[in-house]
């Protein structure tokens, strides 16, 4: 496993140096996000527009990767059907830790317009994989993508790496 496990709580409290190291590691993870674009439906087209020159998704330091092994987060854009659900699970499991998920659009958030009669639509991708950021919309505007990306970066940059267990306990 990566560096994360080995660094789990050697010293109490961590101290200034480890705190700064943690900031650095979080900074690296939050600023360099390679994504696996899991284009499923309409939202994928809007995401392509997001990648294009007007909005330029790569401003955030993201690079598209086609192999799940090299991706940091997976962007589920569109309706997840039952036929697809197993594959999404496999892909998510193939990704290397630490990994994140952005769920884009009403369909992958909750089933969207296919909620009521969609016998073949999974009602939300969060029923099979854990989701970090939800982007609402059908399809979301590129501005919504930007906000979602910034939310993910914010989330990553505040993550605990050292003394995780201890900090979680204190929160509880």
């Amino acid at each position: 496993m990566g560096l994360l496990d080995r660094l789990d709580d050697p010293y109490e409290g961590g101290g200034i140096i480890l705190g700064k190291v943690e900031d650095l590691l979080n900074w690296g993870r939050s600023k360099s996000d390679w994504y696996l674009h899991f284009g499923l439906a309409c939202c994928a087209i809007e995401f392509m527009a997001m990648n294009a020159s007007h909005f330029d998704f790569m401003r955030f330091g993201t690079i598209p990767r086609t192999s799940p092994r090299q991706a940091d987060f997976i962007m589920v854009t569109g309706t997840v059907t039952f036929k697809m659900a197993d594959r999404i699970k496999i892909l998510y499991e193939q990704m290397a830790e630490p990994k994140y998920v952005i769920s884009v659009g009403s369909c992958s958030n909750c089933g969207g317009p296919y909620w009521e009669h969609g016998y073949h639509v999974l009602k939300g991708v969060d029923r099979i994989i854990p989701v970090d950021v939800y982007i609402p919309g059908c399809p979301p505007r590129p501005e919504a993508f930007e906000e979602g990306m910034m939310l993910l970066q914010k989330k990553i940059s505040h993550q605990a790496i050292f003394n995780k267990r201890k900090r979680l306990e204190s929160e509880v």
Partner: protein, 350 residues
């Protein structure tokens, strides 16, 4: 070849100086790779009317550092059914192959890590090591895409080695040496003394200039193929083979492939610079000529070549595998033979 290194002059020939000499190119490779990655991101963005990474440091210049910090933290996956030893060895072999070539690259009049007499020969010898690494990685991953990528890659590397070698051989004939430092020294003076313009000589060399220009072009095209760059990037052609031979690699091992690719780009650019573009010589005679300016000229020339590679990467579509073979064997190889003949004739008549 004595005293080609300023460090030997400075520290004498002892363990420390040898270690320093070995580690200097390594430092250079790492720093260079970071710059090249940034350049790739930014140049591609500018070609496409975008901005590229903007939010990591001012104008995104810290982006490659963030990538490295991130890649260090990633989980290192070894697929369950892979051949573990080969799988783990492959990235190191590829990086070694790319890095070993730096041993003979003359950065300046007074700095070449190992001034051996068979420098060019050595570069071609170690350059082929990376092919072994690619095959190892592709086969050991136990992934069909990786396997196909590796097969294509090796076929491509082997076929393009020959025109590249012919191009280099012609220059060896012109210079009558395989020592890269010597080749540089021959090209000193104004830029028309560069081997791409026929090397130093009287006006009689005019008729050989088209052939040497052609040789430069042949070498450049072959070098694109050897480094798997567009339009010859079929081993990792995204649209069909997902990520080619490194589909299954993650974290630092993937970073090694990444670094090796950029290091390889620099190696071929450095060879092109050395044998065709005058190496560390100033283009303008004695103007800004000297050991320290030499580093400047050498690196800037090599970087220009790298930039051209990036430029081509974002402009052209990619070839198909059979077309690639066709170009290698039926176009570049005969052309390189013709140029070789012409250059040999010129040397005979001289």
């Amino acid at each position: 070849m004595e005293n080609v290194n300023f460090l030997y002059d400075l520290l004498g020939k002892n363990v420390i100086s040898v270690l320093l000499i070995v580690s200097l190119p390594l430092m250079f490779v790492l720093v260079y790779a970071l710059i090249a990655i940034l350049a790739e991101l930014k140049v591609s963005a500018w070609i496409q009317e975008r901005l590229g990474p903007m939010r990591t440091g001012p104008w995104g210049i810290l982006q490659p550092i963030a990538e490295v910090v991130k890649l260090i933290q990633k989980e290192d996956i070894t697929p369950d059914r892979s051949s573990k030893l080969l799988y783990n060895l492959a990235p190191f072999i590829i990086f070694t192959g790319a890095y070993a070539a730096f041993a003979v690259i003359p950065f300046s009049e007074y700095f070449v890590p190992a001034g051996i007499n068979l420098g060019l020969f050595y570069i071609f010898a170690v350059g082929s090591i990376s092919a072994i690494g690619i095959v190892m990685g592709g086969w050991a991953s136990n992934n069909k895409y990786s396997l196909m990528g590796a097969m294509r890659s090796v076929a491509q590397l082997i076929s393009y080695e020959i025109p590249a070698a012919m191009a280099v051989l012609s220059i060896v004939v012109l210079a009558s040496t395989m020592n890269m430092q010597e080749i540089n020294k021959i090209q000193s003076g104004w830029f028309w003394n560069w081997f791409i313009f026929g090397g130093p000589g009287t006006l009689a060399k005019l008729w050989v200039i088209p052939f040497t220009l052609g040789l430069g072009l042949i070498y450049f095209i072959s070098s694109l193929a050897e480094t798997n760059r567009v339009p010859f990037d079929i081993p990792e052609g995204e649209s069909e083979l997902v990520a080619g031979f490194h589909t299954e690699y993650s974290g630092m091992k993937f970073a090694m492939f990444f670094f090796a690719e950029y290091a390889n780009m620099f190696v071929v650019a450095a060879v092109l610079t050395t044998i065709f573009l005058g190496g560390w010589n100033s283009p303008f005679g004695d103007f800004m000529q000297g050991p320290f300016w030499g580093v400047f000229w050498f690196v800037s020339k090599a970087f220009t070549v790298v930039l051209v590679q990036i430029w081509i990467r974002w402009t052209l579509p990619r070839f198909r595998v059979d077309q690639l073979m066709y170009i290698g064997w039926k176009v570049l190889l005969p052309l390189s033979f013709i140029c070789f003949m012409a250059v040999s004739l010129y040397v005979m008549l001289k």
